[in-house]
Amino acid sequence: MKCPWEMTINRLMDDELPDQLREGAEVHLKECPLCRETLADFMILREWIKKTPVPEPRLSGEGAFLKLSSSARLPIGFLQKLRAELEEWIARPVVAFRMAVTVALMVALLLASQPDLPANLTQALHDKVRTFSERSEALFQSLHLFSGQR
C-alpha cells in the first residue's frame, strides 16, 4: 500500500517544506499510520548512517601531500619536504610506540638521578652502584695481582 503523501514525508524530514505546506503535512502525519511508519523507518536509516564508523586512512594528510608532491612534481622546498617526511614517519604507529618507550626510559633515568628520591629507592640505587664499583674494584685488583705475579 502506498500513501500519496510519501514524497512529502521526505521533504518534511529534510526540512525542505515551506511553512504553509509544513502544517498540512504534520496534520496528515498525525492521521496516517503508514506515513508515520515511513518517517520512523527513514529516521532509523539516518541515525544508522551517521553512526557508521569510518576507518582512519592509512595515509595521513602529510603522506597524502608527499604522494601528491611526487606525482605532480610540486615546487616545494627541501626543508618543507623534510618536515613533511618526518611528520609522516612519526605518524606511523611503530615509530610512535618506539618513541614513547624511549621518552619513558629517559624520564625514568632523569627521575632516578634526582637527589630527593624516597630513601628506600635511593638506597637501592646506591646498593646497585656500590655492587658495581666493588665488582670493578675486585676485577681491577685481580688484574693487578695477575700482572704483579708476572
Binding site: D14, T52, G61, Q80
Partner: protein, 176 residues
Amino acid sequence: MDEERLLDRCRQGDGYAWHQLVRSYWGFCYRLAYHLLRSREDAEDAAQDALLQVYRSLSSFRGESSFRTWLYRIVINCCRAKMRRSSPLTQVANEEGNGEQELVEQPDLDRMEKADALNWALNQLSEELRTVFILREVEGLTYSEISQTLGIPIGTVESRLHRARKTLRDLLKRIF
C-alpha cells in the same frame, strides 16, 4: 589563511600553500570517498586522484560555485571512475538502461553487525542513488546544493533520495 587567499597562492604555484590545502582537505576527500565506495583502500585511491585533479585543474576553477561544491564534484567523479574500473559489467548494464536489478543473495542480517548490514545494503544501491543519499544524510546538503553539485534538477534529487531510502528500508527492515 582564508580559503580565497590559499587558493590564490596555490594557483601561483606556492608549495607551502599546497601543503596547507592538501592537509586541510585530505580528510574531507577521504571520508566522502569512503562513504561512496565503502572500502578504505578504494577511498584512499579516489581521494588521492581527486587531489591530483584539483592540482591539475585549479587554474580553471573561477569560483562560479564554492570551492567545496567543486571539490565534491571532483571527489564524486573520481569515485565513479573507481567504481567503473572495479566493476565494468555493472556499469554496462546501467548504461543500457537495464533497470532490472540482478537478484542478490541476502546475507544473514541477524548475525551481522549493524554497520556491516548497512554497508551491504548501501552496496546494493546504484551509484546514482547512493550518491544522493550520502550527500543528504552524511554531508547534510540541501536539495538545492545536491542539485548544483550533481547538475541534476531538484525533482530528480527528491525522487532519487526517496528511492534510495525505500530500497534501504526494504532491505534492512527486518533488523530495524
